[in-house]
């Protein structure tokens, strides 16, 4: 019983053990399965994580590309902004310096704000004159410092050769930073970078413009060089314009001074001439009067004696007396002419202005002169159109003009020749002409024939005596009528004297 119970219990226990083992096995199997599943999950997660990491790294790499691209764009943009700002400043500066023609003022126009606008901190400009190089503008330095910087540049062979001799732009960025000369120069100028451009004129380089930056973060570019070169060129051009203007101005001043001096001299001379002329007129007038009185007596007595009123004269005496009489007439005529000229010239003759019918006047004179004209074998033609407007003038004086001009024509026209008196309406004037087909006047004599006592040197004048006052008197009379006397002549073909008189309707 006990055994059976024990066996039973043992069986039961074995059964329990079997069940437990089975459960354990199942549990292990389940755990293994779970583990396998989890491991798969971990594997999947690891794969996902790796994917994520890769994606993250890819994104980071893309970020790097974006940053590097953006850096390039940023630099380009910065360069562009700098150029635009520089161009705006350049445009303003160009406008300012081109509006002045004073060399000193050109440099005063360059101010600190312009230097800032083009992206720099300091600037100097210097030019050469007779005494050597001279500092003209100084920004960001004291004047003493500016002069030191100028002397540093001039004393540095590399710079002075490239800028002043070769006329090229120099940028400290072009040189290796290790270049000791440039590094020393930068330190002495208290700059971290600079550009220096030649100031050029037509005749070559006359100076330089230097702009510099204190900040070590300023990056010089090709655009900076171009900008400073343009600015320096503009300064050179403005200086050239100022110089030309100054030269022109000085020349003009000199000319004006000369003109003023000459005008003054001429005024003085004119006054002297007037004084002399007045003295001459007074003298002629006085002398003529003084001469005419005794001459009248001489002529009167000569006439009485010649007429035989004091008894018959022997033929030789009569001939001499007639010569005295004739020469007295000539002398009286000369004195009268001189007196007339003197009076007209001094304004002592008052013209009695009246309307003149020129056709009638010329016809009368034609009748009067017809006999001597005919006697000399000449023809007188009158060419005064009908409807010729009347002129205004002193009748007696105008008659003297005609008589003198026609008389002159008669004198110098050989037999068979022709004298023509014509007239025409010339606007506000009437133009009258006396032409002949005579011997004419040589070119060299044309300007002198109206001078008092001038007589053309020709055969006729050598034979016929004259005073040389006729044409002078004509000229004075015409000018006293505000008219103009002209002459045109061809040697061997003839001469035309023309004068104008005011038209009656225009007065």
């Amino acid at each position: 019983m006990v055994l059976a119970t024990a066996l039973k219990q043992a069986g039961l226990a074995a059964l329990v053990m079997n069940y437990a083992g089975m459960i354990g096995i199942i549990a292990v199997i389940v755990l293994v399965l779970v583990l396998v599943f989890k491991m798969e999950r971990v594997k999947e997660l690891n794969a996902d994580l790796a994917n994520l990491r890769r994606a993250f790294d890819d994104l980071d790499n893309q970020g790097k590309i974006i940053l590097q691209t953006d850096l390039e764009l940023h630099r380009a943009q910065e360069e562009l902004d700098k150029k635009v700002s520089g161009l705006i400043a350049l445009q303003e500066l160009t406008r300012l310096i081109s509006t002045t023609l004073d060399g000193e003022e050109i440099f005063l126009k360059i101010q600190e704000k312009h230097v800032s606008q083009i992206g720099f901190d300091k600037a100097i400009a210097f030019t050469r004159d007779a005494d050597g190089y001279r500092l003209r503008t100084c920004i960001g330095y004291t004047w003493e410092e500016g002069e030191k910087v100028m002397n540093l540049l001039l004393g540095q062979p590399l710079l002075s050769r490239r800028i002043l001799e070769e006329g090229r732009v120099f940028s400290s960025a072009d040189e290796d930073r290790a270049n000791k000369d440039v590094a020393r120069l930068l330190a002495l100028m208290a700059l971290s970078s600079f550009v220096c451009a030649p100031i050029v004129q037509k005749d070559g380089t006359i100076g330089a413009l230097l702009v510099g930056s204190e900040s070590s973060f300023t990056q010089l570019t090709g655009g900076d060089k171009d900008l400073i070169y343009i600015l320096a060129t503009q300064i050179g051009q403005a200086l050239e314009n100022a110089r030309l203007f100054e030269e022109t101005w000085h020349a003009q001043q000199e000319l004006e001074q000369k003109i003023q001096q000459r005008t003054h001299e001429l005024s003085v001379a004119l006054e002297e001439i007037k004084t002399v002329s007045k003295r001459k007129s007074d003298f002629i007038s006085a002398v003529s009067h003084e001469l005419r009185t005794p001459l009248t007596s001489i002529k009167g007595y000569a006439s009485i004696v010649a007429a035989g009123k004091l008894g018959e004269l022997p033929p030789e005496a009569k001939e001499r007396i007639e010569k005295i009489n004739k020469h007295s007439d000539n002398l009286t005529n000369l004195i009268n002419n001189l007196l007339d000229i003197s009076r007209i010239e001094s304004g002592r003759v008052e013209m009695k202005m009246e309307t003149i019918d020129l056709r009638a006047m010329v016809a009368e004179i034609g009748d009067m002169l017809a006999p001597p004209i005919k006697e000399r074998g000449l023809t007188l033609a009158l060419d005064l159109p009908e409807g010729l407007p009347p002129a205004v003038g002193d009748k007696n004086q105008i008659e003297r003009v005609f008589i003198n001009l026609v008389g002159n024509a008669m004198k110098f026209t050989p037999a068979g020749g022709r004298i023509t008196v014509g007239a025409e309406d010339a606007g506000e004037h009437v133009k009258v002409s006396v032409s002949d087909s005579g011997i004419g006047i040589a070119e060299k004599d044309m300007s002198k024939i109206f001078d008092e006592f001038y007589r053309v040197d020709n055969e006729i004048n050598a034979q016929v005596k004259g005073t040389g006052l006729g044409l002078s008197l004509v000229k004075y009379i015409v000018e006293a009528h505000k008219g103009k006397l002209t002459v045109a002549s061809t040697v061997g073909k003839g001469t035309t004297f023309a004068f104008t008189l005011p038209k009656a309707s225009a007065v």
Partner: protein, 402 residues
Amino acid sequence: MSTVIGVGFSEKKDPYVAGSEAAQTALYQIHHRKISLSFLFSTIHFSHEKLLEGISYVVGSPRLLGCSGANLIVSDGLRPYGVGVMFISSEKLRCGIAAATDWKTKGAGALGEEWAHAALKDLNEPERHQALIFPDGLIENGSELLRGVKNVLGKSFPVLGASSADNFRFVRTYQYFCDSILSNSLVGAVIGGGLSFGMGLRHGWKPLGKPHTITASVGNVVKTIDNKPAIAIYADYFGQPAGEIAQALIRISTNYPLGLYIPGEREYILRNALRVDDEGGLVCQGDAAAGTEVRLMMGTKSRALTAATEAATEAREALKNCAIRGALIFESISRSKLLGRLTGDEMSRIKDILGDVPLVGISTFGEQAPLKSLEYYGSAHFHNETLAILAIGEPYGPGHGA
């Protein structure tokens, strides 16, 4: 209207003439009223005693603060050459102004503390709302200076500021304080009274590439990133040897700064690297703690302009119940470079939001402004590459319908 603000600008060559011309214009705009506080900004061309003498000639000896900048900001854009003046005339304005000098000897943190104590002493009133600081932009660790200021004024006290600049020369910047021109100094004001101030800060730069981690840093020096010398991040991304990168580091890092991820903030906080230390670490202008996620950042003109709108909106929204009387604009020199000729558009966007109010400012070497997230409790931090706006508002009177 108890608060009137006037601005004047001049490009005259002579600092004395420029100062007096700008002051005359500003004085005319405030109708020759008494000046409560004045700001003076200029490019370094004008940093000369004569500039202050020119201003004194017009307005005597006003309470004056300011600094030199890489550019001057006026209402129609940036000027690389000029002087800008802002005069505030207000019965409601109370302020304590101070200057602390010689950070090189004292250290930036001590300088900040000294300045804050002096400003509070000058204010001599318990009520204070805003601090405005103009530190020397050559201070390498701007965060340390700010820590000194916050130690005195409080961790969450609103501070806005601009680090003076000298247009990438990195030689000498200038701070203006009353009738003195200083260098190596911090000037500024702690403002109390009844005026309100709205601050807006944005940059618009976006992260690029995968996140990295600062694995070691000491203050403002990022020693290693992902356990590699920090310079390697630039060398790797730009595909250039570390030596070449080091030569052009400032130029590259102003365009592509490091972005530190700040949980809860809308934007990364940016850091410009000034130089590389002997171990390849990046010396930044502000703190960068170990463990911080860092990424390389990239800016575009479009995003920078959008950021200007957002910054102005932020400043405007902070002054909901106020009439805006004027604004100070401080913009990183890097943004000016990025935007180029579009800075005029940026000013237009700001004016679209703030209205056609008197504006003046400078391009800076760094900005100080609070972070917004709750984690940082509005604590001010040093920033690079941002546009910081301080809008000055006057609360509407009780009868105002708004």
